[in-house]
C-alpha cells in the first residue's frame, strides 16, 4: 500500500490552491462579461453559444473534479461509512453489518492502538525534529555563498528523497544486520581498534547491537532512516525560503558588526518562520502516516513488542491482513483527527506568528 506521502500532501496542497477559491473566479468571469449581448439575440444558435460559453469553463475544469470525486471523495466518504460497520471483505459488499460506534470504542480500548499512536508520536519527535535541526543550518550555510558548487550539494542532499523507499529500506535492513551488518561492523571496529571501548561501556551498549530485534533500538533505527531520507527535502525547502530574504538585511547587519551566528539567529530564523511552519506541517502529516520504512525494517510486523508499529502500519495490518475493515476505517479517521489537532497546535505555535510577521 502506498500511503499519502509528503510529495502527495504537497501536491494536494498545491492543487487546493489552484482550484480552490483562488482559482475559481478567473475562468468564471469571462462568461459573465459575455452574457451581456446574449439576451438581445433570441435565436437558438446564439443561446447555444451562450450556453457553450457559460458551460465550457466548467467542462474544461471538470476532469479534475470528476477524478477527485471518484478517487478522492468517494473513498473518503466510503471509509467514513465503513467505520460504522463490521465488514468481512472476503464475502463482498453484502456482508456489511451496521455496528454503530463499536469500531471506535473498540479502538479506544485497544492496547495495540494506543501503543501504535505512541510509537508514531515518538517517531515524529525523534525523526522529525532532527530533520529541521539539520536542514535549517545546512540551508543557511549553502545559501551564505561560502560554499562552492551549491547546486551539486543541494541536489545530492535531495537524492535520498527521490530513491524508492522500499529499496532504501532494504539496504538499511542490511546495514542494521546483527552479525554481518555494516553499522555493527563499524561499531565493533571502533570498540576494538579505535579505542572507543570506554564509550560503549559508558553507554552500556553491548556489541553487536540487534538493531531491528530489540524493542529499544527499533525506533532509533527507523528514525535514522527517516532523517537520512527527508532532511534533504527540508534543506531544499529552506533554501528556497532563504532566497526570499533580502540581502540588504544581512548587509545592514554586517555593517552593524553582526557575526554569522547573530545573522542566523536574528534575521534568518525569524524571517524563515512561514517556511518553517510549512515544512513542519508537512513533516507532521508525513511522519504521522509513516508506513514504508517501519514496514520493511520490521518485516511488516511492527517488530519486537510492536516497537515499530505505527498507526498507518497497524491500520494496514488490521484491514488488509486481519480483515477487520471497519476497525481499520475507524482508525484512519482517528488518525485524521490526531493529525488535524497536531497541525492546529503547530499553527498556533509557529504559523500564526509567522504569517502575521509577513503581513506586517
Amino acid at each position: 500500500m502506498k500511503t499519502v506521502r509528503r510529495p502527495g500532501s504537497e501536491a494536494g496542497g498545491l492543487s487546493a490552491q489552484g482550484s480552490g477559491p483562488a482559482g475559481y473566479p478567473a475562468p468564471a468571469a469571462p462568461p459573465r462579461a459575455a452574457a451581456g449581448p446574449a439576451p438581445r439575440a433570441g435565436r437558438g444558435r446564439v443561446s447555444w453559444s451562450r450556453w457553450q460559453r457559460r458551460a465550457a469553463p466548467y467542462l474544461f475544469i471538470s476532469p479534475f473534479f470528476v477524478l477527485f470525486a471518484i478517487f478522492g471523495l468517494y473513498p473518503i466518504a466510503f471509509s467514513f461509512y465503513l467505520s460504522f460497520h463490521s465488514w468481512n471483505a472476503v464475502g463482498g459488499l453484502g456482508t456489511m453489518t451496521r455496528v454503530g460506534l463499536e469500531n471506535y470504542t473498540f479502538l479506544l480500548s485497544d492496547p495495540w492502538f494506543w501503543k501504535s499512536l505512541w510509537n508514531t508520536v515518538v517517531l515524529l519527535a525523534i525523526s522529525g525534529l532532527p530533520q529541521h535541526v539539520i536542514a535549517i543550518p545546512l540551508a543557511f550555510i549553502l545559501n551564505s555563498g561560502l560554499v562552492r558548487l551549491r547546486n551539486l550539494f543541494s541536489s545530492s542532499y535531495f537524492m535520498p528523497y527521490i530513491t524508492s523507499t522500499v529499496a532504501v529500506s532494504m539496504i538499511f535492513t542490511t546495514i542494521y544486520g546483527t552479525q554481518y551488518g555494516a553499522l555493527n561492523a563499524a561499531l565493533v571496529w571502533l570498540e576494538q581498534h579505535a579505542g572507543f571501548g570506554w564509550l560503549f561501556d559508558a553507554l552500556k551498549l553491548e556489541l553487536p547491537v540487534n538493531w531491528l530485534g530489540r524493542a529499544a533500538y527499533i525506533k532509533p533505527a527507523i528514525a535514522m532512516l527517516v532523517v537520512w531520507r527527508w532532511f534533504g527535502w527540508n534543506t531544499v525547502l529552506y533554501l528556497a525560503g532563504l532566497q526570499t530574504i533580502p540581502r540588504e538585511l544581512y548587509e545592514a547587519a554586517m555593517v552593524d558588526g553582526a557575526g554569522i551566528y547573530q545573522q542566523f539567529r536574528w534575521i534568518t530564523v525569524p524571517l524563515l518562520k512561514p517556511i518553517i511552519f510549512f515544512a513542519v506541517t508537512l513533516t507532521i502529516i508525513g511522519n504521522m502516516q509513516l508506513f514504508d520504512e517501519p514496514y520493511i525494517l520490521t518485516g511488516g510486523t511492527g517488530g519486537t513488542s510492536e516497537a515499530g508499529l505505527t498507526v498507518a502500519l497497524y491500520l494496514y495490518r488490521t484491514g488488509f491482513e486481519w480483515l477487520y475493515m471497519g476497525s481499520a476505517a475507524a482508525m484512519s479517521w482517528v488518525l485524521f483527527l490526531v493529525i488535524g489537532i497536531m497541525s492546529a497546535v503547530n499553527f498556533r505555535l509557529i504559523g500564526r506568528g509567522g504569517l502575521q510577521r509577513r503581513e506586517g
Binding site: V90, G91, G94, T178, A215, T304, Y324
Partner: protein, 427 residues
C-alpha cells in the same frame, strides 16, 4: 468423458434434445477462456502444465496471471471485496487460507457439481483437512505441502565433533547447541551458532503435537489455547536457547539469513522441506553436499506451508475452472511434474510412491530425504483452520519476541496473548 456419456444419452432420448446438446457442444467447441492467478514459483509449474492441459482440453484456453506472493493475495482480497476481477482459479497459500475461507469468498467445492468430497482419500490427510472449514465446506484443493524437517550442516557438526543422531529430544538439541556454539575466530564472540533464531524452535514445538481436531491456536470450540502447556513448553525451550546465547538472532528471509547459510555459521535450521530447494537454487548453492536432513526432535511432525487451488465465488466459468483445478491437483503425473519443476512437495498420496522419492539427493550429501519427508507428510495430524489464525499467529509471535528479546515472563506473556486474541476474535 462426462460430456460423452451425456451425448450418448441425449441421442437416445431424442433428436430435439440431441440438437440442444449440439448447440451447447458447438458453443463449447468455440472455445472458452479461463484465467489462473498464481504467485512464484507456482507460475513455473503452470507454464509447464498448460500445454499438457490443452492436450486433454483443447477448447479451454488458460491465461496465466502472475503476481508477487504478497501482491497476489492482496489483489485477490480486493477482487473478493469488490465482487469482480478475480481469476477463475486462484492459488492460495496456507497462511491466507483461513482468511479467504470466511463465508462467501471461495466456492464451496463440497457441493454439486464439484463434489470434491470424493477425492478425500487421495490426499495427504492434514492438507485435505486444512481446506475443510469447521462448518463442512471445502474451500480449496491442496496441491503442495511443507513437511517439517531439521536441516543440519554436516561439516559444522563434524568440526565440533558432534553427532546429530544423538538428538532425540528438544533438550538434546539444546545440549548440542551448547557444544556447537563457540568462538572459532578468537575474538571473544561466538561465530558459530546452533540456529539462526530461537523463535524457530518455539514455532516448531507449538505446531507439533497438536491434539487431533484442534487448530494451532484454537480448540474445537474456537477458544484460544495459546496459554496451554504446548505453548508454555515451546516458549520455555526457546527462552533457554536465547538465554544461553545459542542462536544468532537472525530473522528468516533476510540477507543475514542467507549469509549465515552460505558461511555455515548456523548448525541447524528447522523448516519445511522446501528450504532444500531454495538453498540449492539461490540461497547457498555452493554448500551442496554439506547439508543433511532428519526428523524434528521427539518425532514431532509439523507442516510448514502448503499451497491450494480455489475457485472464487465470482468466477463466470466454474465448470472449466474445476477441470483445471482437478487437473492440477488430482493427477499424479502433473503433481510429479510440479515436484520436479519447483520442489513443491506433492499433496497427492499417489505421487508420493514415485521412484523419484528414493533417489539420493546430492545437495543433502546423497541422502534419500524425500522418502523421509513423504512419511512426515503422511503422519502430520489433521488440524483445523480458524478465521482468527492470522491474528492469533501475529499475537503469539509478538509474545514470543517479548519473551526472547525483552525477557518477559513466559506465563504472563501467554496469558496476555490469550486475552488479546479473545478480544479480537469475539468481534
Amino acid at each position: 468423458m462426462i460430456r460423452g456419456f451425456r451425448a450418448l444419452g441425449r441421442l437416445w432420448a431424442g433428436l430435439l434434445v440431441a440438437a440442444l446438446w449440439l448447440a451447447f457442444g458447438a458453443s463449447a467447441s468455440a472455445g472458452s477462456t479461463i484465467t489462473i492467478g498464481v504467485f512464484p514459483d507456482l507460475d513455473s509449474v503452470i507454464k509447464k502444465v498448460i500445454p499438457e492441459f490443452n492436450k486433454v482440453y483443447p477448447d479451454i484456453e488458460v491465461k496465466l496471471q502472475v503476481l508477487g506472493y504478497g501482491d497476489h493475495h492482496n489483489a485477490l482480497l480486493t477482487a473478493l471485496a469488490t465482487g469482480s476481477g478475480a481469476p477463475d482459479v486462484v492459488a492460495v497459500e496456507i497462511g491466507f487460507l483461513g482468511r479467504f475461507a470466511l463465508e462467501g469468498g471461495l466456492t464451496d467445492l463440497s457441493k454439486p457439481p464439484f463434489n470434491a468430497g470424493q477425492y478425500r482419500n487421495l490426499f495427504v490427510p492434514y492438507a485435505w483437512g486444512q481446506a475443510n472449514t469447521a462448518d463442512g465446506r471445502i474451500v480449496a484443493m491442496p496441491t503442495d505441502t511443507g513437511p517439517g524437517t531439521m536441516f543440519y550442516r554436516r561439516d559444522v557438526l563434524q568440526a565440533a565433533g558432534l553427532d546429530i543422531n544423538g538428538v532425540a529430544t528438544w533438550d538434546d538439541l539444546v545440549a548440542l547447541g551448547r557444544k556447537v556454539t563457540r568462538d572459532t575466530s578468537g575474538d571473544g564472540k561466538p561465530d558459530v551458532f546452533l540456529i539462526a533464531a530461537a523463535s524457530t524452535i518455539a514455532d516448531a514445538m507449538y505446531r507439533g503435537d497438536i491434539p487431533e481436531g484442534e487448530g494451532v491456536y484454537f480448540d474445537v470450540k474456537g477458544r484460544p489455547v495459546v496459554d496451554g502447556p504446548r505453548f508454555v513448553k515451546a516458549f520455555t525451550t526457546a527462552q533457554q536457547v536465547r538465554r544461553a546465547g545459542l542462536d544468532a538472532r537472525i530473522g528468516a528471509w533476510s540477507n543475514e539469513w542467507y549469509e549465515a547459510f552460505k558461511r555455515g555459521t548456523v548448525a541447524v535450521e528447522l523448516s519445511g522441506a522446501w528450504l532444500a530447494g531454495h538453498l540449492q537454487n539461490w540461497m547457498a548453492p555452493d554448500t551442496a553436499g554439506k547439508w543433511g536432513a532428519r526428523n524434528l526432535p521427539e518425532n514431532m511432525f509439523v507442516s510448514w506451508g502448503g499451497s491450494f487451488y480455489a475457485i472464487p465465488e465470482q468466477s463466470k466459468n466454474k465448470a472449466d475452472a474445476w477441470k483445471l483445478v482437478q487437473f492440477l491437483t488430482t493427477r499424479r503425473d502433473i503433481q510429479l511434474l510440479a515436484f520436479k519443476t519447483t520442489n513443491a512437495f506433492p499433496a497427492l498420496l499417489a505421487a508420493l510412491d514415485d521412484p523419484m522419492f528414493d533417489e539420493p539427493m546430492p545437495f543433502l550429501g546423497g541422502q534419500k530425504a524425500r522418502r523421509m519427508w513423504a512419511d512426515v507428510a503422511r503422519t502430520v495430524r489433521v488440524t483445523v483452520i480458524h478465521p482468527g489464525d492470522p491474528v492469533a499467529s501475529e499475537i503469539v509471535g509478538s509474545a514470543l519476541a517479548q519473551v526472547l528479546d525483552e525477557g518477559k515472563d513466559v506465563k504472563q506473556a501467554l496469558t496476555e496473548a490469550r486475552q488479546l486474541i479473545e478480544r479480537r476474535v469475539r468481534r
